[in-house]
């Protein structure tokens, strides 16, 4: 079956521009997660959606970052007024449920470069 997909795979943008990154989770998965991975580093949690509940936004690094999940499926991560330190790979994952003891399935990521 289809896995988690993300688009675009690569994005180069100029400093100060806004960008939108898209994630299509696995069908039927109620939980969706966004992570950021800087070069050679581990994953930094950004935001978590579970069904129609209010998202856990505790990992968003600044108010320039926001995310939506429409209809409990597709999610968009928006970064406004991008900065060079925003350059990273942005990974989306989904799981059957957000409860513990469930594995997360990752998309291939979007590599964002801010020039």
């Amino acid at each position: 079956g289809a896995g988690v997909s993300q688009s675009p795979s690569n994005k180069v943008t100029e400093k100060g521009k806004d960008v939108e990154l898209r994630c299509d989770p696995i069908s039927g998965h109620t939980a969706l997660y966004w992570y950021r991975q800087s070069l050679g580093q581990g994953l930094e949690f950004l935001i978590y959606f579970q069904g129609n509940s209010a998202p856990d936004k505790s990992g968003l690094p600044s108010d320039r970052f926001s995310a939506e999940r429409t209809g409990g499926s597709v999610s968009t991560l928006t970064i406004q007024r991008t900065q060079q330190e925003d350059s990273a790979v942005y990974l989306c994952a989904s799981s059957f449920t957000g409860r513990t003891n469930y594995e997360q399935y990752f998309g291939p990521g979007t590599r964002l470069t801010v020039t």
Binding site: V4, A31, Y35, G42, D56, N101
Partner: protein, 113 residues
């Protein structure tokens, strides 16, 4: 801050050898998971071990968990060139209301033919 800390940061071995990497964490956990990442893109789930389990096997993978020492190890037996990747441990803390995972910085494994 990262919950899991992998050791070593990098590991280089020959095909056929075993690869062992360790993960230490700070808080009490519900479970610990290991993931593999090829070429800096998406992660692939390898194995999940719950806090009440001590050892788990999956193919050539063996994971141990010692909750008293707050540590885990991942052993890859009879390694292959295709095992070249970064390996991450991730923990689910009992203090989190949902299955939030905190990832370590990873171990880079290179298997040479």
């Amino acid at each position: 801050s990262q919950q899991g800390e992998e050791d070593p940061q990098a590991l280089s071995i020959q095909e056929g050898e075993n690869a062992t990497m360790n993960c230490s964490y700070k808080t009490s956990i519900n479970n610990l998971q290991w993931y593999r990442q090829n070429s800096g893109r998406g992660l692939v789930h390898l194995i999940l071990i719950r806090s009440n389990e001590r050892e788990k096997h999956s193919g050539r993978l063996r994971v141990t968990l010692d909750t008293s020492k707050k540590s885990s190890s991942l052993l890859i037996t009879a390694s292959r060139a295709a095992d070249t990747a970064s390996y991450f441990c991730a923990t689910s803390s009992i203090t989190d209301s949902w299955g939030k995972l905190q990832f370590g910085a990873g171990t880079q494994v290179v298997v040479t033919p």
